[in-house]
């Protein structure tokens, strides 16, 4: 069984880093590369296993069965990995690996690097834990691991005022959001007496009280904070520009997905399953009205994709522009999830969820690429102000090429991967409600305007600042080119990927027959 190694390997790497770093300067960097590479291999193997068998892996910590002796309910921590979790684990390990390789060149002028590599491995560990866990308190612990590591990494360059300012802001806001989630967990535990997600789903369906609804409200509130949805996105616009670029790539590509939209989808579809509650309502039994939840998510999604993309147009700081664009893209993902809840069980709902999942993966790759490009520009030229930069194309051709691919992909030009996922989200939202599709298209127009402005930075007349600029070193170029290749290859096979990976993932997340619960129930037997 490979699953525990997804946690063991990064944990081992992080714990051994202070000892390994005594061996010399270069050793710790290679150690981080080896550890994150091994994690990537394990996550690829797990993804392949889950994809091949199309079954949920349920792994129990501490024993071979989650059920206690002599009782009929789960007492142990379980890890429950469906395709959604496995797909995100693969994405996290892939982007994390590239970010570590990129750091070799990018971070070499900084000090305290053994802490940096420890923290980056811990950040990866926290995100991997979030996507594999099936226990709500375990989820909270991993969420905090991820959050605390990212607070420290945002403020890593603590000799700059913006690093400290953004770190403090992110920490205060993020701790508040985490405490919401902890409060929600405490309420659910007090009411139902269990922390296992799939068992909690059964318990809530048996007796959906007001407490369950309040807890759901706390979860959604806290997790929208973490994903950077609009009324509470202000930390993101400061944190992403202030962090080192390799960290921005992970924050924007992964952290807001794993700790934000993934967790929203997991809690809504696995604990408060819309199908289960619609079924209960059909028999006039008490149930949570999931349509309300769906509309709340769609409302914030529309707000997010309009405000995020519109704010991106007016930025003059390159990384701040990318950060606001991330907010906008989170809007699309939330829109897909929201329609997936509202149109649960129909073709449109399934398509919307598939689109949301597809866009999570695509945006992780594209935004990682864009932040790595921004990092290369900052590293070589020393400024990220768009007004001072122009005409980089001749001095840094590979970087410019990577940027053009990334920008085209995020707007959604057809031969690249962003097209398919956005198209599916437009299509499914048009099937559900044309007004939502119109709002989504308006968001994309803003996004197009924002990236066209940056394009002129790269292609315009050469400015004085960049006369001396040249390409960054290989360890920074290669991760960017790998991402470019992946984006192009994924863009050439959009519908194959959608049919083979994203639709099965969406079906498994929807769990029309309660597969997530059944994976646990088969241990209890009889049910």
């Amino acid at each position: 069984m490979m699953l525990p190694f997804l946690i063991i390997i990064p944990l081992f790497g992080a714990f051994s880093m202070p000892i390994v770093s005594l061996l010399g300067k270069k050793v710790k960097e290679y150690w981080a590369v080896i550890i994150s590479g091994a994690t990537l291999a394990v996550s690829a193997k797990i993804f392949y296993t889950v994809w091949k068998t199309n079954e949920i892996i349920l792994y129990t910590l501490g024993s071979d069965s989650p059920i206690g002796q002599g009782v009929k309910f789960p007492i142990r921590i379980v890890w429950e990995v469906d395709l959604f979790g496995a797909l995100l684990a693969l994405t996290i390990a892939f982007v994390g690996f590239l970010a570590v390789v990129y750091s070799l060149g990018y971070m070499k002028h900084d000090t305290g690097l053994e802490k940096y590599y420890t923290l980056i491995l811990i950040l990866e560990l926290g995100m991997l834990g979030i996507v594999i866990t099936g226990d709500i308190f375990n989820f909270y612990v991993f969420l905090e691991i991820m959050s605390i590591a990212s607070y420290a990494l945002v403020a890593f360059r603590n000799d700059t005022w913006e690093g400290i300012e953004a770190g403090v802001k992110y920490m205060f806001v993020g701790s508040l959001a985490s405490s919401f989630i902890l409060l929600g967990i405490a309420l659910l535990y007090g009411q139902y007496g269990t922390l296992t997600m799939s068992y909690l789903a059964i318990k809530i369906a048996e007796n959906p009280t007001v407490v369950a609804k309040v807890a759901l409200a706390f979860f959604i509130g806290g997790l929208l904070f973490k994903s950077g949805a609009v009324p509470v996105h202000m930390w993101l616009a400061d944190a992403h520009p202030a962090a080192p670029s390799s960290i921005s790539a992970m924050l924007s590509g992964l952290v807001i997905k794993a700790g934000g939209v993934y967790a929203v989808a997991r809690i809504i579809f696995s604990i408060f399953n819309p199908g289960l509650h619609a079924y209960l309502r059909a028999f006039n039994a008490p149930a949570v009205d999931m349509n309300v939840v769906g509309w709340v998510i769609v409302f914030f999604a529309c707000l997010t994709l309009l405000v995020g993309n519109a704010m991106a147009v007016v930025q003059t700081d390159m990384k701040r522009l990318f950060a606001f664009s991330s907010v906008g893209q989170i809007g699309y993902i939330l829109l897909g999830i929201g329609i997936g809840i509202l149109a649960y069980g129909t073709k449109a709902g399934e398509l919307a969820l598939a689109g949301a999942i597809y866009h999570i993966v695509n945006h992780a790759l594209i935004k990682a690429l864009l932040f790595l490009v921004a990092g290369a520009v900052i590293h070589q030229v020393g400024t990220k102000n768009l007004n001072e930069l122009s005409g980089l194309a001749k001095r840094m051709p590979l970087t410019t090429f990577s940027f053009i691919i990334g920008a085209a992909a995020i707007i959604g030009l057809p031969p690249l991967n962003g097209f398919a996922s956005k198209w599916i989200i437009y299509e499914s939202s048009a099937m559900y409600n044309p007004i939502l599709a119109a709002i989504a298209v308006v968001g994309t127009v803003f996004s197009l305007a924002a990236y066209t402005r940056v394009l002129f930075t790269f292609l315009g007349r050469e400015s004085d600042r960049i006369k001396e600029a040249k390409e960054p070193e290989k360890s920074m170029i290669i991760p960017m080119l790998i991402l470019v290749v992946v984006i192009i290859v994924m863009g050439l096979l959009p519908w194959q990927i959608n049919d083979k990976v994203m639709l099965p993932t969406a079906r498994m997340l929807e769990q029309l027959n309660g597969e997530y619960i059944m994976a646990l129930l088969k241990f209890i037997g009889g049910a």
Binding site: P4, I8, L11, F12, F15, S16, L61, S63
Partner: protein, 148 residues
């Protein structure tokens, strides 16, 4: 920087630091039998260390506290914890194989050597908490002065 503390404080610290340390070690090593455990005991021992820094001053502490050693020991604590969790990997991660069939540590419940990997994990956590808290407090104490 010279210590500001007087003779009485220093003498009392000499007397109480070993007592706090021993009590902390007791809390850590009896974590599976009495209230407390790795975190509580480790924090107690760190309390003794903080008393040392306050009573004898930063210069004395600088001579005795080695940053690399503390950071390596903190890593070691984590590694021991992870290693104990991996012992039963044949059945499951965190499977308590030392309790079910392991040597020595599967004695009569209620005695010191009874809880499988728990005493090992308590010691590891205690070490990690002590070194981690000490490094954090010492690093803050060494931080740049109020005004350059």
């Amino acid at each position: 920087m010279k210590s500001d503390m007087g003779l009485i404080v220093k003498t009392m610290a000499r007397a109480t630091i070993p007592l706090i340390g021993i009590f902390g070690a007791y809390v850590v090593s009896h974590g599976h039998l009495t209230p407390g455990g790795g975190f509580q005991g480790g924090a107690t021992i760190a309390g003794a260390g903080i008393l040392f820094i306050i009573a004898f001053g930063l210069d004395e502490a600088k001579k005795r506290i080695n940053k690399n050693l503390y950071s390596a020991l903190e890593g070691l604590g984590g590694l021991v914890f992870l290693g104990a969790a991996m012992l039963g990997l044949g059945v499951a991660f965190f499977y308590n194989t030392l309790w079910h069939n392991g040597p020595i540590l599967n004695g009569e419940p209620g005695t010191l050597l009874s809880a499988g990997y728990l005493p090992i994990m308590n010691l590891a956590v205690g070490l990690k908490v002590y070194t981690g808290l000490m490094s954090a407090v010492f690093a803050i104490a060494l931080f740049r002065r109020w005004r350059k």
